[in-house]
């Protein structure tokens, strides 16, 4: 009876990808709510991006792509941006990470930090491109680079937190768990 040992949560939600989706969704909502209200002026890490990065390199699934879309959509909805820009960027990043993860292992904190910083820059470039294409004036360097740095620096710690969080729910082994 291996299912009994997994505990209550896993018995109800046996699909790990769906389980992560259900965990990340409220976390993102709370984060975006804080970011768009109380912590507007603070340079916070791009949590949806880190989540997408985490899901893409660890367990790429259709749910992961869907999560990229939903988190991006939420990001735009909370921040009052043009709906679709962040979704587009996050889904593209998920796809790129999915393809890249076959060749690169983001198993050390330094790799993760560098990887997240790079994808944050990519997200910035994508968002900037879409917005420019939609004739919306944005400041690329001040916003994107700062966000990339903050996100990259904090990403390893946040990913470690995610791993510990999911280790409480189930015994699945993740690619980066050993680190």
């Amino acid at each position: 009876m291996p299912g009994v040992k997994r505990g209550f949560w896993v018995q109800i939600h046996p699909n790990p990808a769906m389980k992560e989706f259900l965990v990340f969704l409220p976390i993102t909502i709370v984060y975006l709510a804080l970011k768009s209200t109380i912590l507007v002026n603070l340079p916070l890490p791009d949590l949806p991006l880190i989540i997408v990065f985490y899901m893409a390199y660890r367990r790429p699934t259709i749910e992961g792509a869907l999560m990229g879309f939903v988190l991006g959509y939420l990001d735009d909805a909370f921040n009052g941006g043009i709906i679709g820009t962040s979704s587009f960027a996050l889904v593209v990043i998920f796809l790129a990470m999915h393809l890249l993860a076959k060749k690169v292992q983001f198993t050390t904190p330094a790799f993760r930090a560098g990887g997240v910083a790079v994808v944050a820059l990519i997200k910035g470039v994508l968002t900037y491109s879409v917005l420019r294409f939609a004739n919306v004036g944005v400041y690329f360097f001040t916003h994107v680079i700062l966000m990339s740095l903050v996100t990259g620096i904090l990403a390893p710690g946040i990913i470690t937190l995610f791993q510990r969080l999911f280790s409480l729910f189930g015994p699945e082994s993740f690619k980066g768990k050993a680190n």
Binding site: I29, V30, L32, A33, L34, S36, T37, I38, P60, T61, I62, G64, A65, L66, G68, F69, G72, Y73, L74, A77, F78, I82, I83, G84, T85, S87, F88, V91, V92, F94, L95, H98, L99, V130, F133, A134
Partner: protein
Amino acid sequence: MRSQKNVVSFLKKNQIIIASLALALFSLHLALTGRQEVERGFILREILSRTVSPMQRLMLGVQGSVKGVWSGYVNLTNVSEENERLRKTLTLVNEDNLRLKEEINLAERLKSILEYKDQLPHKSKAAVIIGFNKEPWARTVTIDKGAKDGIAKDLAVINPIGVVGRVIDVNTHTSQVLLGSDLRSNIDVIVQRSRIKGVAEGNGTDGFLLKYIRQVDDVRLGDMVITSGLSGVFPKGVAVGEVVKIEKGRDNFFKSIEVRPAVNIHQIEEVLVITETGLYAEE
């Protein structure tokens, strides 16, 4: 059949890529099509608006509560300072209010005294009482006019209501006025109704004794007593007081009559000094 299997196999193998590309294109479509709600995913937006707004309201509510508590605390600490500031302001306003009222009263009194001064057929000088001396043996006041202002000894001091007293001492800038109620004061008077003559002496408190009125003389309670002008100090016809008590004298010849002064010395602040002398009445 084989090609169909190949297609299914291809789709399964690349399902993530296909799904991602589809979602990316859909996102791009949302971003780049017009900004109208319907064109940019009205249904999704509607669903999210029901989760986003409450969450933001919740966060702002929590922030508002924390801010409210904090600002309440800060306000409380500021309230005492503000109260003190308001109290000082109120004190200043009250002082201003009192001062203005005083100035209005002063203006009215001065107007009254100036009108009276204009009516007087004698030269006079207005003065302000700046000091009282009410001792058992003396009833005097100090006025702010002296020799430099033309004040001299034995000049009459009156006000629009009646007799105040006479000058007994003169300094350069101030003068002492002996009040009519002083024991040393004697004023020649007549009873206005019956024209009976007498002398109003100060009783040492705040009244007069009307002297030298015989038992046969016609004096009644309520009769008005005025200056006779015979002494040459006070002009004739200035009110001295009202008869309030009549008794039979101890000597059975003169009556004992008390007169209440027309002027309440406690209520006056300005007086007129008649600067002319020898104001004898023309009989």
